[in-house]
């Protein structure tokens, strides 16, 4: 039997055509063979979702059809509405998302994951997140709008007013950038659930559950929180030096796969300049100092800025409050999760690894209760 690789680092757990993280060369390739930096200027989120599901970018007719299907699937059913209204407004929005997606997808009998379900699930995420946000503020939820695109509808459902076009563009670009990323922990969770023959909702709920972790989707929130603590460009050096002295980890730096600058971070860094000029200044100085400290401490490590760092600045510029960062990440990644699940159906084999026993020698006899 093979050696144990903690975290399954370096272990190939799936074959996929949905995306490829080429860490050595700093490239992210989406299905069809497109580099992420080539897609951002030409395709919006719905086109990317189509690409991940079908393997090809849609033509105008296909895109229209997809937009209509998504717009028609934005409404919560009675179960989902009941679950949403049952929870108090201050619940962690990721827990709201996990619960309401589960309720929305509750069904009478087991169904095999399908493209139609993938579209419907993807479409309903902004409704849930927008409603959770409004409930958090003590406001009534607004109904989704069929005339808006995916990103615009998210902002509409959060704010209840006509969304600002520049913000829509920022959100849409963010959604494009985060839609898939190889076999990350949440996508892997979705594939493990799918491998048992379970339904798509169960896969997606499991993925949301994994994305919630601070070591995964929660990292954007952590990056923004760190920037808040630093406060200004002038304070960056002092704050980071002290934090490093206390052995605190810098949020937004380091990645298991990339050995060079994350291509998504590069794009977001550029967007951040105009998206949120003030925060960009603090972030740019923070990055400069953090990379220097990390390099001095471990010159051998490729400690590059990760996507969470610059995403936190861009999402701030788009008017997304930081407690929704992980949810907005989920709104993007659900396209990737569902694409992976659908892909895995073609050769379904239960993912059931071995384990290494580290417990006591088997065979000891249990003592009766009275003698313990």
């Amino acid at each position: 039997m093979a050696e144990f690789s903690p975290g399954l680092e370096g272990v190939v757990a799936a074959e996929t055509a949905v995306s490829e993280v080429d860490g050595a060369n700093g490239r992210l390739i989406y299905r069809g063979g497109y580099l992420i930096e080539d897609l951002v200027p030409v395709a919006g989120y719905e086109e990317i979702a189509h690409l991940l599901w079908h393997g090809e970018l849609p033509n105008e007719n296909e895109l229209d059809t997809l937009r209509q299907q998504m717009a028609a699937a934005r409404t919560l059913n009675q179960s989902a509405r009941g679950a949403l209204m049952a929870m108090d407004g201050q619940i962690d929005p990721m827990d709201v998302l996990r619960t309401v997606v589960s309720a929305q997808g509750a069904s009478k009998s087991l169904t095999k994951p399908s493209l139609a379900e993938a579209i419907a699930l993807t479409a309903v995420f902004p409704t849930i997140v927008g409603s959770a946000y409004r409930r958090r503020q003590g406001k009534d939820m607004v109904e989704p709008r069929a005339d808006l695109g995916h990103a615009a509808n998210l902002l509409w459902m959060m704010e209840g007013k006509e969304p600002d076009l520049q913000k829509v563009h920022l959100v849409d670009s963010y959604l494009v950038l985060l839609a898939d990323h190889g076999l990350n922990a949440s996508t892997f969770a979705a594939r493990v659930v799918a491998s048992t023959g379970s339904d798509l909702t169960s896969c997606v709920v499991g993925a949301i559950a994994a994305l919630k972790g601070p070591a995964h989707g929660g990292a954007t929130f952590a990056a923004r929180t760190m920037l808040d603590k630093i406060g200004s460009a002038d304070n960056a050096e002092k704050w980071l030096t002290e934090a490093h002295g206390r052995h605190e980890r810098f949020s937004g730096f380091g990645h298991r796969v990339y050995r060079t600058y994350d291509p998504r971070a590069k794009i977001l860094r550029e967007m951040a300049k105009t998206a949120s000029p003030e925060l960009h200044k603090t972030a740019a100085r923070t990055e400069e100092v953090a990379l220097k400290i990390l390099h001095d401490a471990h010159p051998e490590r490729p400690n590059a800025t990760n996507v969470d760092f610059w995403a936190s600045v861009v999402l701030t510029g788009a008017g997304i409050p930081k407690e929704l960062f992980t949810c907005v990440f989920a709104i993007s990644r659900v396209a990737g999760w569902t694409a992976h699940v659908l892909e895995s159906l073609s050769d379904l084999r239960i993912i059931r690894p071995a384990s290494r026993w580290t417990g006591p020698e088997p065979g000891k006899k249990p003592l009766q209760l009275a003698k313990r």
Partner: protein, 372 residues
Amino acid sequence: MTSTYVPGLEGIIGAQTAISMVDGANGRLVYQGYVIADLAEQMSFEEVAFLLWKGQLPARAELDSLALELAGSRTLTPAATKALEALPGDTDPMDVLRSVVSVQGVEHRLSRPSVPLAIHATGSFPTILAMFHRRRQGLEPVKPRSDLGHAANYLYMLNGTESSPALIRALNTYLVLLADHGMNASTFTARVIASTESDLTSCLVGAVGALKGPAHGGAPSAVIEQLEQIGTAENAERWMREARKRKVKFMGFGHRIYRVYDPRAKILKEMCRQMNPSFYDLASKVEEVALQILHEEHPERPQSTNVEFYSAGVLQAIGLPKEFFSPTFAVSRVAGWSAHVLEQAANNRIIRPQSEYIGPEPRKPVPLANRG
């Protein structure tokens, strides 16, 4: 360094654990050093849950305090109650469990997995299922009883009357037998989610989703359905040989790990013989024929009866409807899931394997207007 792809991670070590070991070659299942046969008919589910969580069997005082804590966790939160009531009465009970476990565990801030939270979740599973079972029948919910043990209270809340000691003992043995089983797909899902530093509820919700799959926990009801189709012992051979020509899968046979008879199936088979003679007569004949046919087809394979086959007969004798077989599996396995989450959290590294890209070489996207 990257290893070659092994479908299903078969034989790849996914984790180190001291909680349970499946010794497939010798047909042994070991919980924290104890062989399952030494625990099954002597220990209460509560004692075994304690063993899985803490690594040793409880002393009297520890068991008393666990019983008290479990009894204190048998009431659903108002949010969970409302969410449960919002689900239609014909919802798949696994979807009910997934959704209501999710609401029951919502939180304002991220909490670290802990034994008290594990107890809390474990205590709530029977309540969720019993309340839903009552509702399906148009009956009022039954309030939990704190003077009853875990198995006895579950039956009491389902039926509204106390069950016989024999039935309680049978359910208890079932719960002990199924409480953990190495790195199965649902446990592995829970550990993947835990590895992102997510909360315990998220891990459990993901695990329920994985257990729902027919290749994992979803099969015991299929065993009953197949036996119903076969009808009588006399009909078994003819039905099964014809079914095989149509590539029908025999339900309740085959396991990736055991090379000899599953030790749990052995115990459950004997229980069936005593408790459910009509099931036993048919099932033991079907087993004989199935093993014969499977051996003829693949003499090299160690095709043996798995735990689900005789589980079905035991759960039927206990009086559970077949839609509640998989959820009752979860009532047991939640002890193992939460133990694994605690173990993962204590020595964590994010589980993020590699994938192998099988898509096309990088190319340039075409703008929307130019796509065919």
